[in-house]
Subunit: 548 residues, 2 copies
Amino acid sequence: MQDNLITAAQSAYAYPLLVKQLLINSVSLYGDQEISYRGQMRYTFRDFRGRIGKLASALTSLGAGHGTTVAVMDWDSHRYLECYFGVPMMGATLFTVNVRLSPQQILYTLNDAGADIVLFHPDFAPVLEQIRGELTCNPRFVLMADGQNAPELTLPLAGEYEALVEAASPDFVFTDFDENTKAATFYTTGTTGDPKGVCYSHRDIVLHTLASATSLCSPREGQRMHREDVYMPITPMFHVLAWGIPYIAMMLGLRTVLPGRYAPDALLKLRETEKVTFSHCVPTILQMLLQSAQDGAQDLSGWKIIIGGSALPPALCEAALARGIDIFAGYGMSETGPIVSLAQIPPGCTPKDRAEEVRMRCSTGRPVTMVDYRIVSEDMQDLPRDGKSRGEIVLRAPFLTKAYFGKPQASEELWAGGFLHTQDVAVMGEDGFVQIVDRIKDVIKTGGEWVSSIEVENLITEVPGVQECAVIGVPDAKWGERPMAFVVRKAGAEVKPEQIRDQLMTHVDSRRISKYAVPEAERIAFVEAIPKTSVGKINKKQLREEAA
Amino acid sequence: MQDNLITAAQSAYAYPLLVKQLLINSVSLYGDQEISYRGQMRYTFRDFRGRIGKLASALTSLGAGHGTTVAVMDWDSHRYLECYFGVPMMGATLFTVNVRLSPQQILYTLNDAGADIVLFHPDFAPVLEQIRGELTCNPRFVLMADGQNAPELTLPLAGEYEALVEAASPDFVFTDFDENTKAATFYTTGTTGDPKGVCYSHRDIVLHTLASATSLCSPREGQRMHREDVYMPITPMFHVLAWGIPYIAMMLGLRTVLPGRYAPDALLKLRETEKVTFSHCVPTILQMLLQSAQDGAQDLSGWKIIIGGSALPPALCEAALARGIDIFAGYGMSETGPIVSLAQIPPGCTPKDRAEEVRMRCSTGRPVTMVDYRIVSEDMQDLPRDGKSRGEIVLRAPFLTKAYFGKPQASEELWAGGFLHTQDVAVMGEDGFVQIVDRIKDVIKTGGEWVSSIEVENLITEVPGVQECAVIGVPDAKWGERPMAFVVRKAGAEVKPEQIRDQLMTHVDSRRISKYAVPEAERIAFVEAIPKTSVGKINKKQLREEAA
């Protein structure tokens, strides 16, 4: 077999896929486009590009360079966006620190990643001061303050972001390097063991940007992004690069609004004043936004929102649709780029009724461009696309993480058999819509039958008066496991266990769930709140500990 | 400097960018989508995928495999589309033979590319029989007939496409290989010397597909492609992979119509019966379509057409707009993927009048995603974006050809200074719109001043009664060169040289052109037809020879 490779001319430009290439036309075509920070500060893409050069010059003067790690601890700001580009573009690795982790976990991740520089907002000074003595990576600290005076700090500051950037030269030359260079890293908040470092290369980021942009832009209308959208992330920028969407927005030249620290009223006000049309968030935030908007009777029509992080509950979807929001789910994980599927209504399809429409919008979605998306049995055989056969979602795509940082065994398990294992159990319909029914470790096995905790949660959430719900499996001498429900009631609502059981039994009658899936009355507990992980997911590990 | 590359898990899938990956979701999401051949035969994407496997099996049985070259000589057919995927996917190189070249040039290209197999439509049997004795590559011949009996041939046939495919197994395993493997080759029809072989790798094709799709799909409305479009190419599939758009259409799941050999009436009928909404063609074809439609009084609204190959004349653009066609120009060359710019009206822009709209739609366009697009002086300095400063368009993009096949010197000239030289002279406006004013070798130098042949051609075409026009520089003792115009009159129209001069002088008065640009009356020649190259461009080389 001949290799049949193309021999390039010596002078030919190799064009490695680098983050800087995403900006090639952003300034030349959209130089006057605006980036707004909290509606209080705004500048143009041209200014942004100048500040990226200054940032790289400033970081170089602090010792950063190719192969170093620059950690950021900030709310969603224009400065964070500058780091999204400037840090990888200079060949350094952007480390987006999950600021919602415990101080001990933040310490672990800073040491594990070997942070050389930490850029931090004053709000995170206390945690840094608390853990500083145990930092083995000896980073330099740079304060990212909003123009206010620096707080009293015991940390030795190498400088203040605005002052450093102001004083630096914009004429930094961003050279080319290997497209497989590490561009960004962050940590997954697994429910067991230490957080695991996930890395994306420049190539990963560029290909995720192009593939997601193609999937987001190509619908005829609805559930789509276009060049005249105004973008505001409401998924924190520390969380999987805000799903990679800031890169799409900058590439396409979208007006971009960075909202700072999230507060529902401020977000709603920004949406209105900045005329935001495209966002993404977790269900909990949407719930808060809708609640806040209801109080203010705001018109939310024309707002497109992708929901991810956890499943979009049908009732929440209905409520958003009723407010005119074009809402749809997306799916992915820290390890997957992240976006691998989107719950867009398929081309040419008109849902036959609102229920079908809601089912589609709340589903795990259909695969994004270039994503090889399989639902497989334990021996990696494809399962029928019948909407019933349950198996694990395994993936191939040109932007999945290739390994956990320094964790060879976990990395091989992630990629067992050459496909990335999501640990999500799902069914796929004939129409290509995937529906996650559970996490592998959250599936409940009762009397030899598998029960989806998520399915039961969704049905309980439909009971009037129920605000939120979590279902786990608890040990049972007779059945092996039985489902147990933790239920949060709406303020002032009276809900009894039997009401929940009665409503679930109607779904047993309609064969939507089996009767084994209905918890006994004594296994329905009313609680004040459901414990959440740092990224807003239900913390089932903690619930299991509490139940035990 | 540390290299800072990511070390992949051993089991991790590398995901090379291969043509097969474009089809990953085409069958799973759009398996029932249709491909129609001339409206007379239709099958589904699922059938298409099966036939690709059969094709690869059949070609393997004829000796094709990784590194071999499979040449195709066909009109636009579903079989050609099968070859677009099946041949590169098996690691072979698809050679799209320009069937409009002379027999001697076809002979040269078949020998230069080293064709191992030639798939040919009966219409091209005569040329193959004519040159067969001089073929040094000793290919096997496969007939691609439309079900009719094979014609009497002296060529030794290795088989007939449909019979071979029918008998072969669909279960061909398309393995992975290096993404820089040669996927497709074809020849540029330069005006000097032998045709030059251009190659695209799998990576080139995938990245061109993603970047073009992003640019084509992202406008809010107008000049855009979306998933519900029905696609019919009207640029021959042998010509730069039909601008790469069949790959976009298959990736996005678009219903696709292959029209066979082009005939205006048949194309218009197909557009109507198949409800085609997206096409692309050269100006000459559009002219014929409009003429034909006018006779039939057809409604062409809702048809989006990209015009490329030559500049879109404003008068033709006006005529298309008047018929409801969403027409816009695109720009590229055989060496460039091909699409590097598109004349889409920018986001948020409302042209102030029809003239401005036409200027935008007829321009060379604005850069496609990821394309670094410069207008430079002879010493490679960026020129001001003032709409006046003229320089060469030079490019970088992740899908440009890296070399001409076996032509190292031409390859280095193409890439001098690390940018691909288009040899097109253009200006760029503040708004990022590029306008080609000439080919470097077609610019006319008169009395020390540069005159754009294209600009004068466009203005002469606006004179009532003028059908078409070509302007070249001819030697002049006093001025060095003077412009000379060759003019084709509309049937029955009377046009005199002085009418043309008078109208051009009005543009001199309005300072649109200099008075040096106006040809003398004796240098305005009326001709029956303008000579064209095999791809429909004005053959200025031949005009210069005729003038001399």
